[in-house]
């Protein structure tokens, strides 16, 4: 029974969104359903926070290896949540200077803004920056021009990397005007405008077809994996 109701809810939610562009009266329903979806998506963040709290508390109580790091995670989570929900250090919004809580939690000078600027941003951007080393290392080990496909991939990557930097201008700037199309910076533009456009367009169409077919499968209840257990 519970599964059947879940399948019906899935179908109704999907159909409401699908018919809204075709039925004027359904536009309002679609707006309401979208708002509800956004609320549930926000609730999912609360669920994620609760799950983190649960897992870290279990690790902490078990006193297993690395329990100190769990304590740190918990501390960071609770402090961030407290300053975020409590709008610590936030001044009132200019549109309502007498309402103390009217400011945004991430306004400059607030504790939440401080955490974002000095903790989250440096760590996350450095984590992505470090990937430059791993990408370079992996490319050095894996890139081998052993067939046409691999050679195309390798050559394109080189042309894009050189053509989008000053190195490309230095290396091929001497080419005469009648051969300017072969200059690396121009080759990079041609690759992006023609070959990359064609390839990306096909990928986008393929993904959209996949999304549409998966959506239909989900709505019709042919794919029930999200319900868990033996679907």
């Amino acid at each position: 029974m519970s599964r059947s109701i879940a399948l019906l809810i899935c179908l109704m939610g999907g159909l409401t969104m699908l018919v809204s562009p075709f039925l004027p009266m359904a536009t309002g329903w679609a707006n309401d359903v979208t708002d509800w979806f956004n609320i549930l998506a926000a609730m999912a963040f609360v669920l994620g926070g609760g799950s983190l709290l649960k897992v870290q508390l279990m690790r902490l109580s078990a006193r297993g290896p690395g329990w100190g790091y769990s304590a740190l995670t918990l501390l960071a989570f609770i402090v961030t949540l407290w300053v975020g929900l409590g709008k610590v250090g936030v001044v009132a919004d200019p549109s309502a200077p007498t309402v103390a809580w009217s400011g945004k939690p991430d306004d400059e000078g607030s504790a939440f803004w401080w955490i974002y600027l000095y903790v989250m941003t440096p760590i996350t951007s450095t984590l992505f920056a470090v990937l430059a080393f791993y990408v370079a290392s992996a490319a050095f080990r894996a890139f081998r021009a052993k067939n046409v496909e691999a050679t195309l991939l390798l050559a394109t990557a080189f042309v894009i990397l050189l053509g989008r930097t000053f190195a490309g201008v230095v290396l091929t700037g001497w080419l005469p005007d009648w051969a300017s199309g072969l200059r690396l910076e121009n080759l990079a533009v041609t690759i992006m405008d023609v070959f990359n456009t064609a390839g990306n367009r096909a990928i986008i169409i393929g993904i959209a077809l996949g999304v549409a077919s998966t959506g239909i499968r989900l709505m019709l209840g042919l794919d029930r994996s999200y319900l868990g257990g033996d679907a």
Binding site: M12, P94, A157, A202
Partner: protein
């Protein structure tokens, strides 16, 4: 995988890391003691007064007025100032208090530098500083996005629907508070069912909100993907294969370009059709499609590497410009900034 015998033991690794961090600490201490020092942040408090006015419909709007005007409300906030601006203000008026050293932002700057170095240290190997940073960012990210979801979505879309008067008085004074919208009880109920997943009973109760999210998301994405990713992309691919210029002459390059795009899209799509065996003409078209895909992946790889290197450069800029004060490309700390900040100095003199 078994570890090799050449790896140092845990205590030896610990000593190695402690030694490395000590060396870094000594180098930083030396740098801090040389010349102008390093890693300081300055702020200036900006104060603005606002006065209320009521329009014909009874709506209250606030606008900026001269400081200290009767009946006005004042908002004070600290804004960043550079070391150069601080020096300019000091030169104009020694011991001035308008631009001052900021403890919280300076501590933040040093903390950010520590986190940056700690993440970089992972390139050498896993270590306590990296694990410390990793633990912090997990907790902070979860708390951050939870708080953002609360203020950006739950308050305006849920709480404001069920208690508009309370929300208007509490945190959203510009809210157009109408009647209570009881429809909001539906997502509230589904949300509570979703949160019940944290309890042992929640697996079954949590199915309904999950089904709603998945169904709605599927419908939403189907519409947007079909509209923008199929119809628009197909429309954009319908290009003239023979192009003529404005003067009526044959435009060879434009024709070749369009031909390559159309052929590329078709051949790549042929490669994606797995229900037909890739043999004969289909196989040849699919092979050309793979070439287009390889070029696309190559350019994507190139851009990914460039993006990562740009981020890396930004982190080095932060370390060398904002923290270590080793370089100053914008002249933010040199006395040359005094001239740029001369206006500020004179305005400070007038206010002090």
């Amino acid at each position: 995988m078994s570890s090799t015998t050449m790896e140092p033991s845990a205590p030896a690794q610990g000593k190695w890391w402690i030694g490395l961090f000590l060396v870094i600490a000594v180098l930083v201490a030396i740098r801090a003691g040389i010349g102008e020092g390093m890693g300081r942040a300055y702020v200036q408090t900006e104060s603005t007064s606002y006065a209320a006015a009521t329009d014909d419909q009874g709506r209250v709007t606030w606008s900026a007025v001269a400081d200290g005007a009767a009946g006005s409300a004042t908002i004070e906030r600290d804004v960043f100032r550079t070391a150069g601006q601080y020096r300019a203000a000091e030169a104009a008026s020694p011991n001035q208090q308008a631009i001052r050293f900021s403890w919280d932002r300076t501590i933040g700057l040093w903390l950010a530098a520590f986190f940056t170095l700690a993440v970089f240290s992972f390139l050498v190997g896993d270590n306590p500083a990296y694990k410390f940073t990793e633990s912090i960012v997990i907790g902070v990210s979860a708390g951050y996005w939870m708080a953002v979801a609360f203020w950006e979505t739950l308050v305006p879309k849920l709480v404001a629907q069920l208690a508009p008067g309370l929300v208007k008085a509490w945190c959203m004074p510009n809210l157009d508070a109408g009647a209570i919208n009881l429809d909001a009880l539906i997502p509230l109920g589904l949300g509570i069912m979703l949160l019940s997943q944290l309890t042992p009973l929640g697996r079954h109760v949590g199915r309904w909100p999950l089904a709603f999210v998945i169904g709605t998301f599927a419908g939403l994405k189907m519409i947007s993907h079909v509209e923008s990713d199929i119809i628009e992309q197909v429309r954009a691919t319908m290009l003239p294969l023979v192009v003529f210029g404005d003067d009526g002459s044959f435009a060879a390059w434009a024709s070749i370009r369009n031909l390559l795009i159309v052929a590329g899209v078709l051949c790549t799509l042929v490669y994606f059709v797995f229900s037909i065996e890739h043999k004969g003409p289909v196989g040849r078209a699919a092979r050309v499609g793979v070439w287009f895909l390889m070029i696309t992946f190559g350019s994507a790889f190139g851009f990914t590497v460039m993006g990562r290197i740009a981020l890396l450069a930004a982190r080095f800029e932060f370390l060398f410009i904002d923290w270590l004060w080793l370089i100053d490309p914008k002249g933010q700390r040199t006395m040359a900034a005094v001239s740029a900040a001369a206006e500020l100095g004179s305005s400070l003199l007038n206010t002090i």
